[in-house]
């Protein structure tokens, strides 16, 4: 446990020095405020409070931004140590590879959590300021924060795995961008294309829910939208959220981080310094 904590403290300090904490927080706050400003228009015809609408918009933002930040923070985790030449010495210390990865994960999750809380918090403040009734939406805001941390954990784990496999920061960065494109952008585009060509047939009713649960980013979106019962406020793929029971998307949200971290540990174990 002390090995995890020591690693986490050290990693957090490095992230602070490398401006990662300020970059992540700044990006989150900026995007959240832009969304809060832009998202104030559709409130009129939706019978929910202002904050819940903001959370629905923030969910769409988080689906892109949280995985991106997580991958940007994690791709260097192992490959960077290999390139700097710091890994052999570290591995002679009485600390296991699992502890090293968990330490990095704790530090990176803390940064992501901080960025999410400050970013979403800023947008929430705007919502509450213009509509005091928006306070009822605090529950969905809190849910968005912790589910963002879980989504971040999934992509941090994936980033560590890619970092271990690539062993060079440049290669790991390329793989991380590819993963982000596929998981967050292309996957949804492909699903949309299938839905359109299917025309409400078996794919849309049978395979689509499974396909959404199989992707951590989609599971995150479905979970937040259906939990907030704000499906109506969101368009696109999110519209399918109503068809998936809440426990299923929650399970996907919980299982993915564990799977990604297990993968990362397995990949890291294969790295010989």
């Amino acid at each position: 446990m002390s090995g995890v904590l020591a690693t986490a403290i050290c990693e957090f300090r490095i992230a602070l020095r490398n401006r990662w904490v300020s970059i992540a927080t700044g990006m989150m706050v900026l995007f959240a405020l832009v969304l809060a400003a832009a998202g104030s228009a559709p409130t009129g015809d939706v019978s929910v409070d202002r904050l819940s609408v903001t959370v629905a918009s923030l969910t769409s933002l988080a689906v892109y931004l949280v995985p991106l930040l997580a991958l940007l923070m994690s791709f260097d985790a192992v490959a960077g140590e290999v390139e700097r030449g710091t890994l052999p010495l570290l591995l002679t210390y009485p600390v296991s590879r699992l502890q090293i990865l968990l330490g990095k994960l704790v530090a990176h999750l803390a940064i992501l959590g901080l960025a999410a809380a400050l970013g979403y918090g800023a947008a929430a403040l705007v919502a509450v300021w213009s509509d005091p009734g928006a306070l009822q939406g605090l529950g969905s805001l809190w849910r968005l924060i912790w589910s963002s941390v879980l989504l971040g954990a999934t992509f941090l784990g994936a980033g560590y795995a890619l970092s271990s496999l690539a062993r060079r920061p440049s290669g790991a960065a390329g793989l991380a961008i590819a993963l982000w494109l596929v998981a967050v952008v292309l996957y949804d585009l492909a699903l949309l294309a299938l839905i359109v060509s299917d025309g409400g047939g078996t794919f849309t009713t049978q395979a689509l829910p499974l396909a959404l649960l199989a992707n951590p980013a989609d599971a995150f979106r479905v979970f937040n939208l259906s939990a907030a019962e704000a499906v109506a406020a969101a368009g696109g793929i999110g519209g399918a959220a109503g068809a998936i029971p809440l426990w299923q998307s929650a399970a996907s949200l919980l299982v993915w981080p564990l799977a990604a971290i297990a993968l990362a540990v397995a990949a890291f174990r294969r790295v010989t310094p």
């Binding site: 002390s2 090995g3 403290i9 020095r17 700097r84 030449g85 052999p88 010495l89 591995l91 002679t92």
Partner: protein, 317 residues
């Protein structure tokens, strides 16, 4: 008492692919051939002993150290570190390592880095400044390592080996990048640790410094342990000739040349003689009989470099 480090019949080969492209011109050929890094190497190192590992680049020094540390697996043989398997938690608790060209995260200060290492070993991080002071880095401890010189980074590397009470120190080229005074300080530090019972395995290219400050010398060549012993033992085993330089008194050059026809004489009459260790004293006695005809005499034992190249001569090189 059981030795701190026992290695018996250790063998390690790298698959050809791992070496591919290393010596750039030979990449293609190397890809096919596996590289035998260590062949049947055996050694033991007792507590409080200092052993120096000598060898050319690629002789297998770093590979052997990495195996002892548990960083890379080996093919056959047995390795026991403080009675445990290399790389096991028990072994890692009692071994400290200084890699060749040690590196740290440039964004951390020396103090933060050492505090981190202290925490990883379960020690009190507040000892960081004291440890850095022992290697002469106290004044730079609060600067980022990115601003350090190579010698200063090497000192941070040394500092982290002092954490806790390691029973075995593995030091890969520990004095590279250090100036002569720092080198002496470093060996003083090692003497102190050895006196407290730490076994030390270090590799070096600088033979003269190893000569005075280690108990045993091990010479690796092409992955095999070709010689092992104290410097005196190696000197005796190599049986390299001793040189004697005899300077004649003015006007006695010809007489000297006549007395020692086996020697070679240069332009100003300086006579050069070579003999085995056993012949040295009789030869000196013969020289002494010449009395005032001899102005000066130098006995030059084979240098450490001569002994080293005698043992580590590689085929075809």
């Amino acid at each position: 008492m059981t030795p701190t480090l026992t290695i018996s019949r250790l063998t390690k080969a790298f698959p050809g692919r791992a070496e591919a492209g290393f010596p750039f011109g030979k990449a293609r050929r190397q890809r096919i051939q596996a590289v035998e890094a260590l062949k049947q190497v055996s050694l033991t190192l007792e507590a409080g002993k200092r052993a120096a590992l000598l060898g050319h680049n690629g002789a297998g020094k770093s590979t052997m150290m990495k195996i002892v540390l548990g960083l890379i697996p080996f093919d056959s043989g047995e390795v026991s570190v403080c009675g445990a398997r290399p790389g096991s938690p028990a072994a890692r608790t009692s071994v400290a390592y200084l890699p060749e060209n040690v590196a740290f995260h440039p964004a951390l200060t020396g103090e933060e880095q050492v505090r981190h290492y202290l925490s990883l070993r379960g020690e009190d991080p507040r000892q960081a400044m004291e440890i850095l002071a022992r290697v002469g880095l106290a004044s730079a401890a609060r600067r980022r390592i990115g601003t350090y010189s190579k010698g200063m980074r090497q000192r941070v590397g040394l500092a982290q080996t002092l954490i806790g009470r390691p029973r075995l120190l593995v030091l890969d080229e520990p004095t590279s990048g250090l100036d002569p005074v720092s080198r002496r300080d470093f060996y003083d530090l090692l003497d102190g640790l050895a006196a407290e019972g730490t076994a030390i395995l270090l590799s070096s290219h600088v033979l003269t410094e190893v000569e005075a400050r280690t108990d045993r010398i091990l010479i690796l060549s092409g992955g095999a342990l070709v010689a092992e012993g104290t410097l005196a033992e190696l000197r005796a085993r190599a049986a390299l000739p001793v040189s004697l330089l005899v300077r004649p008194a003015p006007g006695h050059a010809a007489r000297l040349a006549m007395a020692f026809p086996e020697g070679s004489q240069d332009g100003d009459g300086l006579l050069r003689l070579a003999c085995t260790q056993a012949e040295k004293l009789p030869l000196l006695a013969r020289i002494a009989t010449l009395g005032t005809a001899v102005a000066d005499l130098d006995v030059i034992p084979p240098s450490l470099e001569d002994i080293y190249s005698h043992f580590s001569r590689r085929d075809g090189q």
